[in-house]
Symmetry: C2
Subunit: 143 residues, 2 copies
């Protein structure tokens, strides 16, 4: 639909969600090689980078809520990619051997995703858009 015909195109809520759905679909396609959907893949990347993270830390990194992290990690445990150890009121989440073995494939998929949307949007435009999005998310997060 051409911009002039869409009454919602000047609404940040509408446009941000439209883009989010499209890029999520593309990410799902690219991460399919890993057997994971993007959220899970991002958590695995974090766990493979840092040896032991709490749900709270992971929630911060991912900009998700702790309860969502719990839900996602439960499923990674079932797949044998992550494990939790409970210590008092704290939980430590770690990648398993199987999880670490996945890392290269995940990074490759992530890179393919980057290349794919950069081809559609142009590398500079994609980069500019991403920075602007992240900066705005930071501002909204703090407001």
């Amino acid at each position: 639909m051409p911009e002039s015909e869409n009454p919602y195109c000047q609404c940040l809520y509408y446009s941000a969600n439209a883009l989010s759905r499209l890029i999520t679909k593309m990410a799902e396609e690219e991460f399919a090689t890993t057997g994971l959907t993007p959220s899970y893949a991002f958590i695995m990347m974090s766990l493979n980078k840092h040896e032991g993270l709490s749900p709270g830390e992971l929630a911060n990194i991912m900009m998700l809520t702790p309860s969502t992290i719990t839900r996602l990690v439960e499923k990674l445990e079932v797949k044998g990619l992550a494990k939790r150890t409970f210590k008092g009121r704290n939980t430590i989440i770690q990648s398993t051997t199987k999880g670490k073995e996945l890392n290269d494939i995940i990074l490759k998929a992530w890179n393919n995703l980057f290349k794919r949307y950069s081809e559609v949007l142009g590398e500079n435009e994609a980069s500019r858009l991403t920075s602007a999005l992240y900066a705005s998310a930071e501002k909204l997060n703090k407001s």
Copy 2:
């Protein structure tokens, strides 16, 4: 988290989704006065503007799938805000009197949403970001 510390801030998937969740939350707060969540409010605005839309048309306007539209409209029917009439394989969705009465409140909420995020991001920056998002969504949609 400062940009330099976040390894995902240069990923469009990550940033777009982070922003999407934040702006959706803000929109939910602003549209709360209407008794509707943002998606429903947008559908009502469309129905109040065009006298009779098919699920397919509505899906196009909203950049959602027809099945999602069916689901949303079913609930608007339960609330007495919309009604469907079936004609052959086609469906026509219309706003009810009760739905039309909501229009002013919805438009006011939408305007408040605009003002609120413009205050946080700056009106120019918000406007630029929205245009860039919409343009990119269009490109991805066609690719």
